[in-house]
Symmetry: C2
Subunit: 237 residues, 2 copies
Amino acid sequence: MAQSNRDRTSRRAIYLKLRQMVLTLELAPGAALSENELAASLGVSRTPVRESLILLSQEGLVQVFPKIGSFVSRVDPAQVADAQFLREAVELASLDDLPADLDAEVVGELRGNLERQRHADLGLEEFFELDEAFHQGLMRLSGHGNVWTNVAAAKGHLDRARRLGLHENVSPAVFAVQHHEIFEAVVGGDVPLARAAMRTHLRAVFSDIERIRAHSPELFASGPSTVPVRRNVVVWE
Amino acid sequence: MAQSNRDRTSRRAIYLKLRQMVLTLELAPGAALSENELAASLGVSRTPVRESLILLSQEGLVQVFPKIGSFVSRVDPAQVADAQFLREAVELASLDDLPADLDAEVVGELRGNLERQRHADLGLEEFFELDEAFHQGLMRLSGHGNVWTNVAAAKGHLDRARRLGLHENVSPAVFAVQHHEIFEAVVGGDVPLARAAMRTHLRAVFSDIERIRAHSPELFASGPSTVPVRRNVVVWE
DNA sequence: CGACAGATGCTTGTATACAAGTACTGGACG
DNA sequence: CGTCCAGTACTTGTATACAAGCATCTGTCG
């Protein structure tokens, strides 16, 4: 499961770093990216930076316009909805495939995960990390752990929308409680209850997005195809 | 929907061409790829070829081993099963979201598609093209047409396994009939029937794979991590 | 003052050169 | 004849150079 020792290439490190920065909104939606600037600030050449941007571009997190520039994708409500639909379909279907006796080790992991979610002084990113591990763990229970990779690759826009939502005012505590409810239904073997709890949970996560969009429209894509705008070139000196 | 005029880069053309060749088995699973050879045969430099291989690598269709070589991925039964689970979950959930009155234009497209599927002298690749358009069309009916992109990106191994199966002896006619049954249930507004027909169809597609695996094991991945082997270097001259 | 046109500096796309590492090959040696 | 070791040819990763295009700025002209 661990990555091979060989692929410690700088491209991979840069790709992961940029991806993290985009998902955590450290790189804001709509921000201009320059291969040259990134390369200089990271201390490498354009090549690994460029290849990373191409990968992020395929994930929809970055848009590259030839001869114009590269930009962090604005959060696209359509893609958010698509990701929501996909994850809900997959996670609910996964619950149907839960075996009679669950993998004790994974159950233990999930229990510890939920325990940590209870801590009140939990930072946003720490919570998201636990949230991610929790949902993936549930899918591992039904033998579909690797499918989470596909879900994760598709839900970049959804993740950013969630962070926008939680940056506002909502506390993660509500979601932690919902996680607990889902978990109890799963270990209790009550699949219909687990499905209902999961659906409620995922839709609660989704419901805030329109509110956020009204609040910060500049972070979202407006038209069907956003027109790129070269940023003003300001030279210091 | 059409791609911008600007991104007619050679990278995109090469990426699409290589992807097609991998999916149609024109490039056999396990085959060694060389960035230099591909570049030479395509009349371009390594750069666009390399970037295409990186994209295919992220899709799981190609494996790149630094300093060793690049190879067409062997068909991984685990990834086939994962893709089957994902597409089934998504396509069944999509049927639940069918609106009361269907988009007449899309319905017309699907009808024409099914008509063409009936032609007995249908080549394998032509059938696959129609099959792909049919399933995507169904998802467009329920407003989830763009999610098909995510499904398509995840089911490369499944597609190759299907082609291995159909190369053997099975006729596409059976699947055409199943498509018709699904379509009739959809236009008839009978969602449960549509779901049942869809599930039967998708599982029929899936069921042949183990047989194929027994017949041509060298095309499938065996262990958890396949060890790459540099091919013998044969120099003519 | 306004408008048009060219210079300029940025952007990404492609080509090429070099670096680092692997595996086979061939020969020397025990 | 077997074994070890160095050479060699290939691989991908990274750095750099050049090509082509867009947007802004600026100077000139009406």
